[in-house]
């Protein structure tokens, strides 16, 4: 008993100090508990002493205090942010939930809808467009990847394995919804009407590229399609998305922002900042995490210890869902519901899609160096989202082998043509190097442009001939 007493005294002093610090900015918080110049926590060693505090209060105060106890007679603390119940039991919250969060899915691996799955039926027209876009994305990846291997473009990055995430999420949105992509989401642009020629122009950095040849291939962007230009640094788009969403909110727009990122991006400080901003600002933004298992060579087991990404949402006060990223119907339904909630309730939503990066991270990567080929093959063959969706579309009699071969041959032709054209279009003019640093070129840039042009005149052999000067 003596031991317990000493220890509890220590604890109470400790508590007083800690709580005192917490209460610094909130005098009213303490005033409701202190009496006779002493802190109640100092006496708060047993449940009995808690009752004794009650007795010291006046009748009026007692009436108020009655409501400060829960059903088990535990004192309730009216703390900023909400009421908290005291407990005599010292219990640490477990580092992980008893069960991992379930993953919403509609179609099984054979493209058969689950009997009890809740999902909205989509029309033939939308389904066929979705499937066609998924196939187009696959072919685009194959051909551009090959073009990079042939040295025709400097870099490429495929979306293979994540076609359902790209196309189904795009299909569930309207074109007024603003996209802040990472870099593995070209399917959204494709869905919105960005042409294969426009993709090729960007990858070749020719004068028709909206980015004026300034960024690496795959850094697409289109104001017309409400798709912000891709930026290489990881997760920087997340806080920006919250800002864009806040702007939609303030303008009273019937639209939301959707921002995409990978599992690796969630380790960045920007992820934390963005989720926290969004929750506090009540911004209509959907955070779409493509958990594809690999951040270049870092597996998720080395990235975090939490139950994936979905579990983080609650900590920030954000409604969240885990979805099968290789099931186009599940992604479509989850995003449609998320969009509805984000806009009508003006709140952020976190979506974690479980998927797999079937391709290498980029053309600068060989993923067989760090992951088993069997694992890649399993996801490429047995869990391919395009095949799964195709089975469902075919089951509805919306798609035939003839449609398939016509589509594939047509897309292939269009892409080869687009590459040939993009290759021949001249590079952006030299003047484009100096514009857009600021809204107008300042004198130092004009001066530097003049000096460069003189140098080009004197040494034309030093400079690429395909850039018009």
């Amino acid at each position: 008993m003596a031991v317990w007493f000493t220890r509890s005294r220590f604890m109470s002093h400790h508590l007083k100090r800690e709580v005192g610090l917490l209460g610094l900015n909130n005098p009213s918080f303490w005033s409701s508990f202190t009496h006779h110049n002493s802190s109640p926590l100092e006496n708060c060693r047993t449940p009995e002493t808690v009752f004794s505090i009650r007795r010291f209060e006046s009748t009026k105060a007692e009436k108020q205090l009655d409501s400060r106890f829960d059903d088990d007679e535990n004192l309730i603390l009216d703390f900023p942010g909400g009421k908290v119940t005291f407990t005599p039991e010292m219990r640490f919250i477990s580092e992980s939930p008893e069960k991992r969060t379930h993953c919403y899915r509609v179609l099984d691996d054979n493209g058969q809808p689950s009997m009890c799955s809740s999902f909205e039926q989509i029309s033939k027209e939308v389904a066929v467009k979705m499937y066609s876009n998924m196939v187009t994305l696959q072919i685009m990846d194959t051909i551009f990847y090959e073009a990079q291997r042939q040295g025709r473009i400097s870099f490429y990055l495929t979306t293979i394995g994540e076609e359902a995430i790209n196309i189904a999420s795009a299909a569930a949105l309207t074109t007024n919804d603003v996209i802040l992509p990472q870099y593995r989401e070209p399917g959204i642009l494709l869905w919105r009407g960005f042409t294969l020629q426009e993709f090729a122009n960007q990858c070749f950095g020719n004068k028709a590229d909206y980015g004026k040849g300034r960024q690496m291939p795959i850094h697409y962007g289109s104001n017309k399609h409400n798709y912000f230009t891709v930026s290489s640094p990881i997760a920087t788009q997340l806080p920006q998305a919250v800002g864009a969403a806040y702007s939609l909110k303030m303008d009273g727009k019937d639209a939301c922002v959707v921002t995409y990122f990978g599992d690796g991006g969630t380790s960045e400080g920007d992820f934390h900042a963005a989720l926290n901003f969004a929750a506090v600002m009540e911004a209509p933004v959907i955070f779409f995490c493509r958990n594809n298992g690999w951040a270049i060579s870092t597996p998720t087991t080395e990235q975090f210890r939490s139950d994936g990404i979905v579990s983080r949402g609650q900590a920030y006060g954000i409604r969240s869902i885990r979805v099968d990223g290789n099931d186009a119907l599940a992604v479509y339904n989850a995003i449609q519901a998320a969009r509805e909630m984000a806009i009508s309730e003006q709140r952020p939503i976190l979506v974690e899609a479980l998927t797999y990066r079937v391709g290498h991270h980029s053309t600068s990567d060989d993923s067989t160096k760090y992951r088993p080929v069997g694992e890649i093959e399993h996801w490429r063959v047995a869990r391919d989202p395009v095949t799964r969706f195709k089975k469902w579309v075919e089951r509805n009699d919306w798609w035939s082998d003839k449609d398939e071969s016509e589509l594939r041959s047509s897309v292939r032709k269009q892409l080869l043509h687009a590459i040939q054209v993009a290759e021949k279009v001249e590079k952006p003019p030299l003047a484009d190097m100096f514009t857009d640093v600021y809204d107008r070129p300042p004198s130092n840039l004009s001066e530097q442009e003049g000096l460069l042009r003189e140098s080009i005149k004197r040494h034309p052999q030093d400079y690429p001939s395909d850039v018009p000067v």
Partner: protein, 323 residues
């Protein structure tokens, strides 16, 4: 401690003299009240929010008024939807600066102005007294502006907010309370990328910005007693900077001294020095002098040693003139 008090006293006396009032902006002196720098900033922010419904103020502690009181009253007046606290999230170099360029001018970051306290304050130490302007000057796409006084702060801040480019606006901490001068209450802007000759002279050109200008001003006054006529220029915008004004002055005086609190190596003074040597090599009568902070982290108790003091500047003026 004594040194610090002395410095404070000096500031007070300078501010009473209305040190910053410019010769070419006399018109600004109408209907003004004497206010300090934080109040001038506060006025500018009120005007910015009043005149543009899409203007927002957010950041750490801005809602209650801020540690330096610059945002006092804004949340009450304009509501918490437009003036709100946010945690820090810094994306200046990779995102704000390149947003326009990397999207081919399809997107931009919408007239973003980042206000930041800056510079020595007598008791700040490594983090709270440093002067990182040169970092930002080396990032194409950003502008860097530093005011020297309340009147300047208001006009330059409004110009920054209305400029369509991302701007880092450094507010010299030392001036927040100590610099007091008449500031017009109406809406006005001062031009960006235009330096200002605040003291004409013929023997040597001195270039500086922010709080350092008053130290330089004192050196000018003392030099005058020795018969040296100094021309003092406030650069105001560091990037893109007004080379022409500095060049014209150096062509007249044949000598240049640059002074800043930031460490001398790789400081913005180096850029000014190199550019002026390029443009005025044959006109220069002496090497360009740089009287700046030392290449150490800002050292708390050694601050008086670290700083580019009046006498360091005065010695350099003399040795440059007598070179």
């Amino acid at each position: 401690m004594a040194t610090r008090l002395k410095r404070l006293e000096r500031w007070a006396s300078l501010s009473r003299r209305g040190f910053s009032t410019s010769c070419d902006e006399q018109k600004l002196q109408q209907s003004g009240k004497n206010v300090n720098l934080f109040s001038a900033i506060n006025q500018a922010l009120h005007i910015a929010l009043e005149t543009d419904p899409r203007a927002y103020v957010f950041g750490e502690d801005v809602s209650f008024g801020g540690v330096f009181r610059c945002t006092t009253g804004l949340a009450d007046r304009f509501g918490k939807n437009r003036v709100f606290n946010t945690p820090l999230c810094e994306q200046i170099v990779n995102e704000a600066a390149k947003f326009r360029y990397r999207s081919g001018n399809q997107f931009n970051c919408g007239g973003l102005t980042i206000r930041s306290p800056y510079g020595a304050v007598g008791h700040g130490g490594h983090y709270h007294s440093q002067s990182p302007e040169a970092f930002f000057c080396h990032v194409p796409g950003i502008k860097v502006v530093i005011p020297r006084s309340p009147q300047q702060a208001k006009g330059l801040l409004l110009a920054c907010i209305r400029d369509p480019n991302p701007i880092v606006f450094f507010e010299p901490k030392w001036l927040y309370r100590l610099a007091v001068e008449e500031v017009p209450e109406h809406d006005y802007v001062l031009p960006l990328s235009q330096a200002e000759v605040i003291r004409p002279g013929s023997d040597i050109t001195l270039v500086g910005w922010g709080a350092q200008l008053s130290v330089m001003e004192q050196a000018c006054v003392d030099a005058e007693k020795d018969g040296i006529s100094c021309e003092l220029i406030d650069l105001r915008t560091l990037i893109p900077w007004d080379k022409e004004t500095v060049e014209a002055s150096v062509r007249k005086t044949g000598r240049l001294l640059v002074s800043h609190e930031a460490p001398v190596t790789g400081g913005f003074g180096a850029e000014i020095s190199a550019s002026i040597v390029e443009r005025c090599f044959l006109r220069l009568e002496a090497p360009v002098a740089r009287i700046c902070g030392l290449d150490t982290p800002f050292p708390l108790v050694f601050e008086p040693f670290y700083m580019p003091t009046k006498n360091k500047i005065l010695d350099a003026i003399k040795s440059t003139v007598n070179y």
